[in-house]
Structures are given as structure tokens and as C-alpha cells.
Symmetry: C2
Subunit: 350 residues, 2 copies
């Protein structure tokens, strides 16, 4: 991390609050016709273009959600945007604008904020969203980022958590558990480094899971894919806290139970081998690890043929009546194990 | 402040992240037909009802924007909402929804968060806005609140910072400087208390300025008043950082200069007497103090008769050509003093 020990670095107070925002955001361009007024007024003005507005916010705190000992600031900026855009994708809406607020201690030089904003700019470009507002302030310690994402969609296309019916199929995109195991590798190597700063970190061969942790992507592509397949999910959520707790959210909102088949949970071979190396159960990493930012959704049984064998999707279970509860069906034994919300919880982690 | 020393207080971890949000927000009701989906899904869904969406965000950090040594948590929650709603009012839009994110250290018990949310609920009720989303997480130290406010308005009614023309009149609502002097009294009495906890704080007689600091209000009423008078401002901003820097913002965005008449700046008699008591120049408190959350706007010269002598408004100056610059015209001497942005700046304050 960039610490303000170098006399060539620029203290934040050089700019002041207004100058700083201007400096950090002056190179952002706009991609959406819905962005009418952006940074520079009391508020941004957005033209809904006859659609509904979808809005979500997430707050990330240093030492809780990220460790600047091993997370590059540019990646942090990128990921903070992804986390929020993923929520918009989970409503089956199209992300269009973000607002970024930072509380940052004076130990950070301007160059550190420039790195964060470089990551934010990259994410804005990749996801075609406009940065339209925000606030930057000092804090007594550490870095806190709060991002609000705005998206748009027609009413009839918005997918909530609450539409699943018994017998609907439970589907997930991509593969799971990688982000969690990437974090374990980062924490292991960081601990080694702290114990002996001359040791070289052993990151080689872990590329995929490190990228899953450090530079995740939101599945904004899935909306188009499902549309082309003629499938509208009956309920949907993104996987930020772990498969298990997300299933329980769908259950809670849709008033159904779920059966999840352990053997169906999609995992990359590197995820499985790293779990083995660290003596962790790979399925548990997928169930409780979180931060994969894949989409979890249900579809009507009659849509089964449309998505079976599609490389983006895995059918991992199905909905049952609410009173039959939420259970993992264990590999081999078919034993039923109750699902619980051991997902990533910011208040329990510390 | 409520510190977690009392065994009857509830640690945040009792609830966990999801349970906590549910617990804190379960008693919020909704007032706006535009709120279609609220807390409980990946994102909120808002129906723009054929209007433009106006959105703004502010972040408040403990030790920078507030001192929990003397700011009651309920007031903090109320004020955090007001700060954001004031930005929506400054666009001449109607506030409709807010999202609230908190990063909070584990030293805060659930009861402390309940107090903050009681203040948020009071503000939501008073301003008829719906709490539709947010995020709550732990932090390594202190409390950081980030609020995003959403409002709506027809395009033709939205007022930007950029519409002022030379000869337009500069108008401000209410009176200025009170919030800053209230803060000085709170800080003085807090210092006395820290030096000798047996001393009674001397707050009596300072009610108005203490309320200006601790429980400010956003001028959402002004929109209706101006409408009734048949006046549409040509530019507008709210006074969060001080009259001086807000004038410079209007100047910057509208490409005009301003003349501000010191003798016209509206101040309450308690503000003036407290400034005298503390050996401060009252006008400087109004110019640079900030946090009054009054509205500053310009009107066309032909609207002069419509608002002169109206109790809500003071005409404090006028716009000139940009090249004539921004100056305070001093009381008595008519000396021109260049306006500068010595407004409240979170990065310089520490």
C-alpha cells in the first residue's frame, strides 16, 4: 500500500475537499443517455427513460472487507464497484450509474486515491456505468468506501427474491468457492511475509482463485444470455455471502424450501485442489465462503431443456414446499444436512 | 454515548448482519407510491412516475463531522438524513427515498444503533421519505454513516447551480451562522467537562443555536413557497460548507461573479451575541461556518417585488459579470473583500 512516507507523494490537504473530487473525477466520461447532470451540482439528475429505477448500496471497511496489506488499491476500487453492480444484475436490471463515497485517513496520499479511482474508472468503463456523484471526507482511521449503484429496467423484467415456486429448479452461474480460497492463499502468504519480510510469497499457480478474490466480475452478461434462451428466472439473488445463506434468503422471501445437491455444486479444479491443500472441505468453501458474485436463481421446471448443458449454468437443486425446509443432500450418502447461514458475516468475523 | 460497558446492553453480534438490518428497519412504514420494492431484496425498485430522478450522497465520519462526546445518537441519525435531503431540496426536487449505510465498531451495542435509527425514522416521517435500502457492517474503529437520498421532479422545475445571469439577485433563506456558533458552545462545554467531569455544562440560553447545530432542518418548504410566489430560481445550492464557498460554487457553475453585502446577511440575535461573547466576527461565522442548511439561490431582477419583505427570504447581493469577481462589500466602509472558500473542509479541519 502507498503510505505517506515518501516526500514526493501529495498530501490530500493540498487539494481540499472540492478540488480533490474534481481532480479524481475529471477524466470520467459518460456512456448513458440517462445521465443528465453529474458531479458538480448538489445532486445528479437521471432520466429514467420510462423504466423503473433499481438502487442498491454497499459499504466496505478496511480491516473487515479488505486488508491493504495485500489488496492493491486499484483492485479495491474495481471490486467495490463490482459488488454493487452485482446487486443490480441480481434484479435482472441494467446498471447505469454509481455514486462513490470515501472516508479516508490523512495517512493516504492523493496518489493512493488516484489508484482507487483508476480501479473505479476501469469498472465504469467495463460495465458501461457513469460515476455521477459522491463525497470524500477524512476519517480518524482507515478507509471506508460506500457505493450506491443505480440501474434501470422495465417492470415486467425485474426479478425479485420472492418468486420461486415448489418444483422450480435452482440454478447457479459459473463456479463457486474460488474467491474464498483465493482469500485463504492471500492471508497465508501475508502471514508468512509479516513473519519474515524476506520470504517471497508463493502465489504461483493460484492465478484463477486469486483473481476471483481480487478482481471479481459481476454477471451482467447473464441477463442477455437468459433473454436469448427465452428464460425468465422466477427469483434471483447474487452470491456475496455464500451459497447457503443466499438459498435461505430465496427461501425466506419466496416461502419455499430448497434441496441443494452437493455433487452438483460447480467448482473449478484449482478451487478443489487448493481446498484439499488447506484441509478444507471444498463444498463448505462454496456454501459458506462468499464473494463469488455469481447469480443464483430459480426457473420454472418447463424451462429445464433450455438451459441444461449450457456452459454458463449448473442446475444444483430444486424448490420444495416451505415446510420441507432447506437441506443439502450430501454426496454419496444422500444424507440431508440442514442449511444454515454461516455465510460471511461482517460482525462475526472479527 | 452508549458504551458497551453495561451487561444489559446487546452486542451487535447477537443479531448478525441480516438480523440486525431487519431488526433496525422493521418499524419503518412507507409514504411514497414511488417505492415499489424496499429493504429485503438485492436492490430497491423505484417508480419514477414520469419524473426525473435526483440523487445525492454524503458520508459522515465520527471525529470529523460529529463528536459522540456531545452529539446524541438520535440527533446524529436525524441530521445525517437532513444533510442529504437538503441536497435534494437544493435541486428544487421532492425527496422520496433514502438508503442508509453504517460502518460501526463493535464497541457500539445494538441499543446505540437503535438510537441512530430512531433519529432516522423521525426524519423519514418528518420529510415523508422512505428508507428503502442500506448496508450495515463492522469497522475497526468509530462510526461512519453514508446516506444516499433520492428525489423526483419534472425536468422544467429542476434548478441547477449553473443558471445565474449578471444582475440576478442573490437570496438566502432563514438566518446564518447559528449552527457554527452552536458547535463552538458544544465544544467549549465539552472541553470544560473533560477537564472536570463534575462541572455542569452551561447550555442555558443557547437553545436556538444548539438546535441549529444538533437538529438542523432541510428547507423542503421553500419549493412550495416559491411556487406560490411564482418565482423559479435561476440557480440554487444549499449552505452546508458556508455562505462564502457556496457563492463561489454558484459563480463557478454559472460563470458569473457576485457582490455580497455584509450588512444584508441575516443573523439571529443569539448568533450575534454569542459571536461577540466568543470574540468572533458574526459575519465571518455566517460566511465560513457552514451547516446552516439554508438555501442560497438567485432570481431574475424582475422577481424582486415578489419576494422583498417575505419573512423567509433575505436579498443579500447580486450577480455581476464573471470578470468582476466575487467580493464581500464590507459594512460601513463599502470596502471590497475577496471571497474565498474558507468553508468547512473535512481535510483541513484535523
Amino acid at each position: 500500500m502507498l503510505e505517506d512516507k515518501n516526500p514526493q507523494l501529495t498530501p490530500i490537504s493540498t487539494y481540499g475537499e472540492f478540488g480533490l473530487i474534481k481532480h479524481l473525477t475529471e477524466n470520467f466520461s459518460f456512456k448513458n443517455t440517462s445521465t443528465e447532470i453529474s458531479i458538480g451540482d448538489d445532486a445528479a439528475v437521471i432520466n429514467p427513460e420510462n423504466k423503473k429505477i433499481v438502487v442498491s448500496t454497499d459499504i466496505l471497511a478496511e480491516g473487515v472487507h479488505f486488508n491493504l496489506g495485500y489488496v492493491p488499491l486499484k483492485h479495491l476500487g474495481y471490486k467495490a464497484v463490482v459488488v454493487n453492480i452485482s446487486d443490480i444484475a441480481a434484479m435482472n436490471a441494467i446498471p447505469t450509474q454509481i455514486l462513490v463515497s470515501l472516508a479516508v485517513s490523512n495517512r493516504f496520499p492523493v496518489e493512493a486515491l488516484e489508484e482507487i479511482y483508476a480501479g473505479i474508472a476501469l469498472a465504469c468503463k467495463h460495465y458501461k456505468v457513469d460515476l455521477v456523484g459522491g463525497d470524500t471526507t477524512s476519517s480518524n482511521s482507515g478507509l471506508v468506501m460506500s457505493i450506491t449503484a443505480i440501474g434501470m429496467e422495465d417492470s415486467e423484467n425485474i426479478v425479485k427474491r420472492s418468486g420461486a415456486k415448489p418444483n422450480d429448479l435452482l440454478v447457479v452461474t459459473g463456479d463457486l468457492g474460488g474467491a474464498y480460497l483465493g482469500l485463504q492463499i492471500l492471508e497465508r502468504e501475508h502471514a508468512v511475509y509479516l513473519a519474515n519480510p524476506d520470504m517471497q510469497p508463493e502465489m504461483e499457480g493460484y492465478d484463477y482463485i486469486l483473481e476471483r478474490q481480487l478482481k471479481p466480475e459481476a454477471r451482467t452478461d447473464i441477463k442477455k444470455t437468459l433473454n436469448e434462451l427465452g428464460v425468465k428466472p422466477t427469483s434471483m439473488i447474487d452470491i456475496s455471502d455464500g451459497l447457503s445463506s443466499e438459498i435461505l434468503h430465496l427461501s425466506d422471501q419466496s416461502k419455499v424450501g430448497f434441496r441443494l445437491y452437493e455433487e452438483k455444486i460447480p467448482m473449478d479444479s484449482l478451487t478443489i485442489s487448493t481446498a484439499d491443500e488447506l484441509n478444507l472441505n471444498p463444498a463448505m468453501c462454496a456454501m459458506n465462503g462468499g464473494e463469488d458474485f455469481e447469480l443464483l436463481f430459480t426457473i420454472a421446471p418447463e424451462d429445464f431443456e433450455k438451459i441444461r448443458n449450457h456452459p454458463d449454468f449448473s442446475i444444483i437443486g430444486h424448490a420444495v414446499e416451505l415446510e420441507h425446509g432447506n437441506y443439502l443432500v450430501a454426496r454419496g450418502s444422500n444424507e440431508l444436512i440442514a442449511l444454515n447461514a454461516q455465510g460471511w458475516d461482517a460482525f462475526l468475523k472479527k
